[in-house]
Symmetry: D2
Subunit: 329 residues, 4 copies
């Protein structure tokens, strides 16, 4: 374990691109050859279906048989393990809940790397620790294949409509090959830099998103208590320097905007639990890089508290409700 | 003192509009009659000049003779006290540094209210405690005159170019009269509601602004340390849910945008001291209204710390620099 | 109002001791002459009774007739207003809930200062803004009397048993006179310095108390989740550098200690609402003196949140319960 | 890697005591047989010397030859690797700077576990992630040996004088054997529970210590600015509910106490960098166990900021100086 973890650490500062130029030689680049898909959950399911719609034969796997069954009914071939996926497809997309799951799916006893073909392109769309992405890239490179991290922004709705944004890290020469597949599932595919930078961009965006959302909730709540009409206050903020995505596109105050979770009892959207997970990743990265993040850190704590106070399954804009409750309740 | 302060408190919950409809009767509404201006500092000076440019004769006062001299050279009449201003003008604008100054200028021994004419319109553009605005409105009303709060957003540059935004609180019937004058000095004049809501809107906006700015600085700094290019990260944030005014219009990272203080060594712009003052007002209002503001409160502390670490006179976006310093420095 | 408030502000930096040496001349120092008491609430009631027990005739007032009635039954004379108290007693103790109440009781239309005798000793045991204490001292001095601030630590139990701690600010020459009365109600009477320093000491102590309590709750909770036995962890902390009053005398974890609110469902003790009020005073003072207090500020927000989540009436050690709740609840 | 890391995670919830009862059979329990020592830095050096003083022959290793040389001169035998230590001693103490170093020393290619004898007792006094301690215990158990975590409190001075406190986690039956050695180096050896609880106790104590220290610095600073004498304020806090180790034993204000770093320009003591490291471990554990730690988290950020502002090498009580700096500096 020591050697591997130690490498994992040093990988933070090393490059994985040395052998990558050889990797592309033997991969089948012809479109419409089978694509592998591992992780068929709330997000993976609609993403996989969009690949099918675009005519790609799918070889898929999930640990839950029901999740496999539904995709099988749509036309995908189901196999027994990640390594079996790697045996049948040289382009594979993974969509997993955590760093540990990703490590297991790639490097476990039945993992992708056990049977990966030389020149394969492995794209991980999970949101995980960028340091883990870098380590997986190194292990993949040893097998003569290519690993890219490509986490998404946009929720289940965007996954269904094919409007996700992919933030992609990895060898730049492989970006076009990745984009061919990712653009079937997303409207924006952005190249961010070397391996791990896709995760970094996702994490930084979501940390700022959380800060902006809590800040918007605080400012709206304070303004309302000082006598301002919420719609008017939102309008003023949005034409001023307080403007942010949480105030002008996803306002957390019920009744200010239509079609957002705050006007639907905070159902749907991006759950507090998921935001808390991403803020935990941000804090891990901040600690590793010795970066002070006072507001990011406190935002993590606020969402952590909300998780323990019944808000875990509500949209993360419910922080307005969390802060608002009256003393007499 | 007790009686007055007590009233100040109860004013938080009362309305000042009862007699206001009688107030307008006897005010000279003809344009281009003299306008009073009290407070000729960095902001007041260019604001007063813009009124002169629009053809309004000015009767002005400031405690600093030099400040008076410069406006006198531009054509204003200088008088000896706020009460003398009130004697010669029935529309008066005040631009003062703090709640205590505003209290003194309005209700002090030589204050405006000592000689205010019935029906006068008093517009306070200072950024002060909304509870003080409400109390001043009550005292003004007793004299048969009208008080409105109209704090500004936009700095010295906007004051010079006449592009300020005014957030106006007070009796709605008087808004047009106020707007006639304010639109000489600002591009946006927004009616916010009853007296004090102009201050409330200003305070809430600036609290959210501070939160967004610190959050942007944290996210950009973390991303850079994780290997992202700053310009690329800003671009990604600005097309995603992390987008805010501080990321897309006033980015705190040197080199990301041109024409902002971060690209000019954090000179100019909105000083850390001023932001700290506004965050102090926000915290006072939050405590009075029992509103939880975890991020607003911590932002206040961050800017307070910056003031004591040599950042007092720098633009408030210098929080990026404050957080960024390396361990080896 | 301006003049008074302005003075209030400047009083922060001035001395009130100039004329104090004349004040003592005409006060009746003979023991057992009547003592005034204003404010007969949860704390004032047992404090007044202890003065009675020590043989002091009492002249008392409270705005609530029932509060008066009970003390009357114990032998006190009830009068109609604070000014009536001042007419009949030249040593007066006040115990009031807020700065505004204190201002009203002292300087209001029927306030103590309306009929205070020259040389009277006025001792305010309320916990209020130190700046207000200083202003009240100045107003008192103008009437030829002496004002001291003497807030208490210790709750209702200590008030009943006469074991309060008094932190006294004011002219040092008067301290013995104050101590004669205060030692009937408290076990410790500490001289802190000029007027306002009693409040300052109280506020600083309670801010540190809140920080230590929340910190203890966090550390105990984290340790328990990491597998430590709570009693063992408390023992380890208490023999190490984590030791504090909240860990060794008032441990917030149910079952660790007997005879503390945590072992009585957080009933009794020092209510979350009261702690929140004191933290608000600390923040006001920190803002006025430009003192960074990151943990004090966040502690204020934590207790503010607790007030809105049903913990207002529980002992402040219930922060352990607040932080502990499980995700599944 | 996956398998190992995955186990590392599950180890959080499993027990390592199953086979431990067999482990003791073949270890030489006779006193004064050689003891191994790995990690001869600022802390390890005096600890190793104390074992020598108590008559234990030492077999030692450190990656820095100079560190080895000094111990060799005192009578220890120096070998070439951790595995060589394990070959020659069946009781080994390790004192290493980080989790990664510990992983390498135990499980690396030349690690202790490569040549560990059955029944050996391995005691790790490093301060590391409790989850890593648990994983190392599992790996050790596979080799038929016993692992205990025994982090210390007390700095270099306590290491020299043999007055450290050891917090010990591991199989209870082995505690006496561990205590025999640890009591040569420390005055207190406390059994905390199963493997990892020594680390947990250390981490919780230091998190509370940091919170108490920053809180004391804030309270002292605020009190001083409100006019209190620092020594008097410390005295008041220490007889009241604000009392804590940082106020009564290690006061951060210069001149209040003698013989503490604050009275020696914050030299010596427990460095800010080390406190920051421990707070990072606390945050990692809090995130893994989903424990809200708002003050612990903010304390981490405060010390992180101090590291980047020139306080890295100063004692952690220098937070008083950090918060105190005047606006005009």
């Amino acid at each position: 374990m020591a050697a591997l973890l130690w490498k994992s650490c040093s990988a933070l500062h090393s490059s994985v691109s040395r052998h990558a130029r050889f990797a592309v030689v033997c991969r089948s680049m012809a479109s419409k050859t089978p694509v592998g898909f591992i992780g068929l959950g709330n997000m993976g399911n609609p993403m996989a279906k969009n690949l099918l719609k675009h005519g790609y034969p799918l070889v898929a796997f999930d640990v839950f048989p029901e999740a496999c069954k539904e995709i099988q009914d749509t036309g995908a071939q189901i196999v027994d393990s990640p390594s079996d996926v790697a045996e049948k497809a040289d382009r594979i997309i993974t969509m997993l809940p955590s760093s540990l799951n990703a490590i297991d799916v790639y490097t476990g006893p039945n993992g992708v790397l056990k049977k990966v073909k030389k020149g394969s392109l492995l794209i991980d769309s999970s949101t995980i620790d960028p340091a883990v992405s870098k380590e997986l890239a190194k292990e993949t490179e040893k097998m003569g294949a290519v690993f890219m991290d490509a986490p998404v922004s946009g929720g289940v709705g965007a996954a269904r409509s094919g409007n996700l944004t992919f933030m992609v890290g990895g060898v730049e020469q492989e970006f076009d090959a990745a984009k061919e597949l990712l653009s079937c599932m997303g409207a924006n595919v952005v190249y961010c830099g070397e391996v791990g930078t896709g995760q970094a961009a996702k994490i930084c965006n979501n940390m700022l998103l959380a800060i902006g959302m809590i800040g918007t909730a605080e400012a709206m709540n304070l303004g309302i208590r000082l006598g301002l009409d919420p719609k008017l206050l939102a309008k003023i903020l949005n034409m001023s320097s307080g403007r942010c995505w949480s105030s002008d596109t996803y306002n957390p105050v019920p009744g200010v905007m239509e079609g957002v979770p705050s006007s639907n009892n905070y159902q749907g959207g991006f759950g507090t639990t998921l935001m808390t997970k991403d803020l935990g990743l941000a804090q891990d990265s901040a600690t590793k890089t010795k970066t002070p993040t006072p507001l990011g850190s406190l935002s993590h704590q606020v969402y952590r508290l909300m998780c323990s106070k019944g808000y875990a399954q509500k949209d993360f804009s419910s922080v307005f409700q969390f802060l608002r409750e009256e003393e007499n309740l």
